[in-house]
């Protein structure tokens, strides 16, 4: 009887999930925080952070990573927005098929796709490096930009477009004054899906630049792999987490007024 009562209460169903979250999300985060402020021997220190600011190589990589992420995101918007707009305008069934085609690569492992990109560059006798890296990142993350934008444009009430035409807006004006402003939440959502994962990526950059160009993710990984620099790695992770948190808060407060983003 007692067991049944416990099972019946719906709030109790959340317990396994709460346990999971504590074990695999909250605890690791706390550990990163603790490790970041400790030396190898275990005493409290801020040296890991001062090292980040002083060590120009890490700082440069950090800035370089943000630069690469910015370029990738911009390219994704430039290529993805028109694609999403065209898709949302075409006939229902055809539009769906095209969206599926764009999203199809997402089902293939990201490492496989990067290796395929390497093979493609080899085949076309192109040099791997920065260009290949950006190409690979755009290729990998483009669906994450298209989908939220497509979703938002798709949801725009057709009567807004008619109202704008009725008030004298030409096709171009309908786009610039109504459709584009109303699709901004989708763009914000897309940026979050592209920009943040790009900063922390490491495997893709290693494969596509033959380990010549290193992103912030690679540096964290290097430090984390060795036990004597693990605390430093934890500090770097923490810095990245804080940046991600700041961007998320900024963009979500922005899109809240406009509501109904795409995926987030």
């Amino acid at each position: 009887m007692k067991l049944k009562g416990t099972l019946m209460k719906r709030s109790n169903w959340a317990i396994p999930y709460a346990l999971f979250l504590v074990l695999f999300v909250v605890l690791p985060l706390l550990l990163i925080g603790v490790y970041a402020f400790r030396t190898n021997t275990g005493s409290f220190t801020l040296v890991n952070f001062t090292k980040f600011v002083q060590q120009t190589e890490t700082l440069n990589t950090f800035i370089y990573s943000i630069g690469i992420a910015l370029i990738t995101t911009c390219l994704c918007i430039l290529i993805g927005y028109p694609a999403a707009y065209i898709l949302s305008n075409s006939e229902l069934t055809r539009g769906r098929t095209l969206v599926m085609l764009f999203i199809l690569p997402m089902w293939i492992n990201i490492l496989m796709r990067s290796l395929a990109t390497v093979a493609l560059f080899d085949f076309m006798h192109l040099q791997l490096g920065e260009g290949a890296l950006i190409f690979g990142l755009v290729y990998d993350f483009l669906p994450f930009m298209i989908y939220p934008i497509y979703n938002t444009i798709q949801k725009i009430d057709k009567s807004y477009i008619e109202a704008a035409q009725d008030l004298g807006a030409t096709r171009t004006q309908v786009f610039t004054k109504v459709i584009f402003p109303l699709s901004v939440p989708g763009i914000v959502s897309g940026i979050m899906m592209v920009f943040l994962p790009t900063i922390s990526t490491f495997a893709i950059s290693e494969i596509l630049t033959l380990n010549n160009k290193r992103l912030f993710g690679s540096i964290i990984q290097d430090n984390m792999m060795m036990s004597d620099t693990m605390n430093y790695g934890a500090a770097l992770s923490l810095i990245m987490l804080i940046i991600i948190a700041i961007t998320t808060v900024l963009s979500s407060s922005d899109s809240e007024e406009l509501n109904e983003g795409g995926l987030i």
Partner: protein, 464 residues
């Protein structure tokens, strides 16, 4: 409708316009002329094509046939953004990313109006719609009624020649709707703009309009002043749709004498054939009801009595079995025996479009005729051979309706129900798209799917 003598009076001319979506014809040969400054209401049940007509005027959809002129100029192919008309949408369609001020200024900004002028105009229309001080508000923070006002302001700020309103009050509650009706009427007077107003609410149409256009099934049924439409409906559909009414079958004995409910009534209608079958309309408020006495025309018994605020609404069964709807200030008890009087001027006689079904068909063989999308058994008719095109005549009461479609030779959907005092007159739209009519005592609902059966002896077959 007759072609106007002086076309200069008309701001909008809809000239033989038809519109189809795929196979489905939504508008069938619509002609409509609107005077400058007129308040025209397009009235009809849902699906009658009224919104499509408005969208054609606004330019959101293109006509299949015919043309539309604005002040004598053909605008059939002109895109919506170049038409000097503005629309108030049913769901308002206010831009969610703009505030009240920006929404209203939208049209003016597109025309490169100076910001001082925009400011002046926005304040002017906000005053007209009674929304001063709401400039900076977000549109989704407004109530339905306020959004409606902003939508009207956004349209009239552009000083359109014609304002199109698509059921603008449908989403408001009753009290708000009544207030807005009066305000809209007032605005129409002050602005001097031509209003074309679409609604399914007949009371709204009667209250507000200069002219009402009644539509059904993609066709215009009647165009006229509210009083004309109410007092002189041209057919049972209009009589039934506008206000409450008693519609009965009658026979025109001679000029100014009509027989219905087994009684000869004096009336004011002339020009019918002797013994022509007609429809008679009597409004419930035009039947005088009094305690039973010997001098009255009709006797009956009160079957129900409901208090409606101003008056009582009663149903009375006459001694001959007709059910009449009566409105009176005096209350009569259920079961009370009463007498009724109808004045000659309150009897409205309408010509019947049809006295019986005339169905086009083809003989399959000597004893079978193909019509209404099915094959019906019939009696052999001398001189009529297989393969011949024929017209089959069937009296309304001889069309049998079946619960299940496989019980009939053809099937259809009940599309219009008219109560005629002692029976129902139903319109059935067959699956082949034709309309046939059936008189029955059975109760059917609008939209019921029925089988159609006609006995062989009830058909009269003629060569076509």
């Amino acid at each position: 409708m007759t072609v106007p003598a002086d076309e200069k009076d008309y701001i909008i001319e809809v000239d033989h316009v038809s519109k189809s979506f795929g196979d489905k014809q939504v508008l069938d040969d619509i002609s409509l002329f609107v005077r400058k400054g007129e308040f025209v209401t397009i009235l009809g049940p849902s699906g009658c094509g009224k919104t499509t007509l408005l969208r054609l005027l606004a330019g959101f959809t293109q006509v299949s046939e015919g043309s539309i002129r604005l002040q004598g100029q053909d605008i059939t192919a002109i895109p919506p953004y170049r038409r000097p008309m503005n629309t108030v949408f049913q769901r308002y369609a206010l831009f969610p990313h703009l505030n009240v001020y920006e929404n209203i200024a939208f049209g003016l900004k597109l025309k490169d109006t100076s910001s001082e002028e925009i400011d002046k105009q926005v304040r002017r229309v906000l005053k007209i719609v009674g929304m001063t001080d709401y400039e900076e508000r977000a549109v989704d923070s407004l109530s339905g009624g306020q959004q409606q006002r902003v939508a009207i302001a956004r349209a009239i700020v552009n000083r359109p020649q014609v304002l199109l309103l698509d059921e603008p009050l449908a989403a408001l509650d009753l009290k708000m709707r009544k207030d807005m009706q009066l305000e809209l009427k007032q605005m129409h007077k002050e602005l001097g703009i031509t209003f074309i107003y679409v609604t399914h609410d007949q009371e709204e149409a009667l209250t507000m309009s200069d002219t009402i256009v009644v539509m059904n099934k993609g066709r215009i049924q009647q165009i006229g002043k509210p009083t004309d439409i109410y007092n002189e409906p041209v057919n049972p559909f209009v009589a039934d749709f506008i206000g409450d009414s008693n519609i009965l079958n009658g026979i025109m004995k001679q000029d100014r004498l009509v027989q219905f409910m087994y009684h000869d009534f004096e009336c004011v209608d002339e020009g019918f054939q002797p013994d022509e079958h007609v429809d008679v309309v009597i409004r419930p408020e035009d039947i005088y009801i009094m305690p039973r006495n010997n001098s009255a025309m009709l006797n009956g018994t009160v079957q129900s009595c409901i208090f409606k605020g101003v008056h009582y609404e009663m149903t009375v069964i006459t001694d001959h079995g007709y059910e009449l709807l009566i409105q009176d200030y005096n209350q009569f008890e259920v079961g009370q025996e009463v007498s009724l009087i109808i004045k000659p001027s309150d009897i409205h006689v309408m010509r019947k479009e049809l006295n019986s079904n005339r169905i086009d068909g083809t003989m399959a063989d000597a004893t079978h005729v193909e019509m209404l999308g099915g094959t019906f058994e019939c009696l052999p008719t001398p001189g009529i051979e297989a393969g011949q095109d024929v017209t089959v005549t069937v009296q309304f009461p001889k069309v049998d309706l079946m619960d299940y479609t496989d019980e009939g030779a053809a099937s259809g959907t009940v599309s219009f129900i008219l109560y005629k005092g002692n029976h129902y007159h139903l319109t059935i739209t067959t699956d082949s798209g034709e309309d046939i009519y059936a008189d029955t005592q059975d109760v059917w609902d609008d939209g019921d799917i029925v089988g159609i059966r006609i006995l062989p002896e009830d058909m009269t077959i003629q060569a076509r």
